[in-house]
C-alpha cells in the first residue's frame, strides 16, 4: 500500500508540473485529469473511498469537462500556442519560482519540526461521512446548496450573449 501511495504521488506531481508548463490548453487539461486521478488513488489508499469516487466523478468528470467545453466554445486555434511560446520564457519563471520555492520550504519546515504521531489507520466508511454530513454538518450542506444555486444563476447570467453581439463566442 505504501508503494502505491508513493507511486501515485510521483505521478500526481509530475503531471501537475506538466500542466503548468504545457503550451497547448487541451493537453494541459488532460494532464490535469491524470493528476486528479492520481490523487483519487491516493484518497483510496488513505481510507477515503467515498472521496476517491467523488474526486473522479465531480472533479475530473464534471469540472474538467466544463473546462473542455469552454475551450471548445472559444475555438482558439494554433495562434494561442504561438502566443504561449512567446509568453513563457525562462526569465518569467525565475521570480515566481523563487517565491514558490520559499513557500514550499516553509511548509516543509513546519511539517518536519513537530513530531507527528502515527495515524490511526483504517477506512472511514461512506456511512460515517453521510452521518456526519446530515448530523453536525447539515447547516453546511444547506449553505453549499445555496452556493450552488448562486453559481448556477451567476453562470447563466454571465455566460449570456449580449443582445447586440453579432454571433460567435
Amino acid at each position: 500500500m505504501n508503494t502505491v501511495f508513493y507511486m501515485s504521488a510521483i505521478i500526481a506531481v509530475a503531471s501537475t508540473a506538466m500542466v503548468i508548463m504545457e503550451r497547448k490548453a487541451v493537453h494541459a487539461l488532460l494532464y490535469l485529469i491524470v493528476s486528479l486521478l492520481a490523487v483519487a488513488v491516493i484518497f483510496f489508499v488513505l481510507g477515503a473511498p467515498f472521496m476517491a469516487a467523488l474526486e473522479v466523478l465531480i472533479y475530473a468528470g464534471a469540472i474538467m469537462v466544463l473546462f473542455v467545453f469552454v475551450m471548445m466554445l472559444l475555438n482558439l486555434g494554433g495562434a494561442a500556442a504561438g502566443q504561449e511560446r512567446q509568453w513563457l520564457h525562462a526569465r518569467a519563471w525565475s521570480g515566481p519560482g523563487i517565491l514558490a520555492a520559499v513557500l514550499l520550504a516553509e511548509v516543509v519546515y513546519v511539517l518536519t519540526c513537530a513530531g507527528w504521531p502515527k495515524p490511526t489507520g483504517g477506512v472511514v466508511e461512506p456511512r460515517q461521512v453521510g452521518a456526519a454530513l446530515f448530523g453536525p454538518y447539515v447547516l453546511g450542506v444547506e449553505l453549499a446548496s445555496l452556493v450552488l444555486l448562486a453559481a448556477l444563476l451567476g453562470a447563466y447570467h454571465l455566460g449570456r450573449r449580449a443582445a447586440h453581439e453579432p454571433g460567435g463566442p
Binding site: A9, T16, A92, W93, V124, L158
Partner: protein, 102 residues
Amino acid sequence: MATVPVEHALMLAGILFALGVLGVMVRRNVVFTLMCIEIMLNASGLAFVVAGWRWGQADGQVMFFFILTMAASEVSVGLALVLQLYRHFRTLDVDAADKMRG
C-alpha cells in the same frame, strides 16, 4: 490501508499547492490560471483528507466535500467570466484587463 507517515502526505499536498501557486503567478492565459486555481484547491482538499485519515474521523472528508462543492461553483462562474473576457478583449491574456492600474 497505507501506513505512510503523515508528514509525507502533507508534504505532497504542499508540493502540489506550490506548483499551483507557481502556475498562477506565471501563466498569462486566463484558462490556465483557472486550472492552477483548481490545482491549489485540490491540494488543500488532499490536506484535509489526510488530516481526517490521521484522526480516523469523517470530518476531513466532509471538509473535502464542501471544498469540492465550492470548487465546482467557482469554476462555473469563472468560466462564464472567461467567456465575457474573451468577448470584450478578443484575447485570453489576463494582463489585457488592467484598467484598474494607477
